[in-house]
């Protein structure tokens, strides 16, 4: 059994999805790496921003 924290799950999800997005959505190796990093940052960044928003709304 594997019990990651919510944030660890977000990071793992972002990592795997970003790798596939980078490879499939760009043609050159450089473009793949750049787009993969871009997707990873957006995934994790959006999760952090939305988490803080929900935290502040819930207070």
């Amino acid at each position: 059994m594997f019990h990651p924290s919510h944030f660890a799950a977000v990071v793992l999800f972002a990592l795997f999805a970003s790798v596939v997005f980078g490879i499939t959505q760009r043609s050159t190796p450089r473009g793949m790496v750049r787009y993969g990093i871009y997707c990873f940052v957006l995934f994790v960044g959006a999760a952090i921003v939305l988490s803080w928003l929900m935290f502040l709304i819930a207070r």
Partner: protein
């Protein structure tokens, strides 16, 4: 191709070798086995990364006791089943071995269920990418 390049390991010759065979084979192979479509086209690095990502995501989903959809009782179950079927043979073998949970009982199992569904959807994207490489729509 110049005459002097005939039979040499040029990019053009590699693509010509990869372009042989049934046009839908990379699409089908990529769906059944993650990364296989790219391996057939000799895109070893891309195939390995895709296989590691999708099998890793699927494996973590199973390890988190994620649910494998077996039937279609409502629209959400149908969508979940469609996503799971995107995993190809991984889903079939897991069902045969009785892996995954029947019901979600803990929070991490809910994450696991999403991991499994998204792994299937990513696998479909990767299989279509292999098809695009095969047809020449993508280089």
């Amino acid at each position: 191709m110049r005459y002097s390049q005939k039979g040499m390991s040029t990019e053009e010759n590699k693509n010509a070798v990869a372009a042989k065979g049934w046009v839908y084979l990379p699409l089908l192979a990529g769906w059944l086995v993650p990364g296989a479509g790219h391996f057939l086209l000799r895109k070893w690095g891309r195939g390995a990364l895709i296989a590691a990502s999708i099998v890793g995501m699927y494996g973590l989903g199973i390890a988190m006791q994620g649910k494998l959809y077996s039937g279609a009782h409502d629209i959400l179950d149908i969508l979940g089943l469609v996503g799971d079927l995107g995993n190809g043979l991984l889903f079939v073998v897991s069902r045969l071995l009785g892996l995954g949970a029947d019901q979600v009982q803990v929070t991490t199992a809910d994450y696991g269920t999403r991991f499994i569904v998204v792994a299937g959807l990513l696998n479909v994207i990767a299989a279509v990418d292999a098809h695009n490489l095969r047809t020449g729509r993508k280089s």
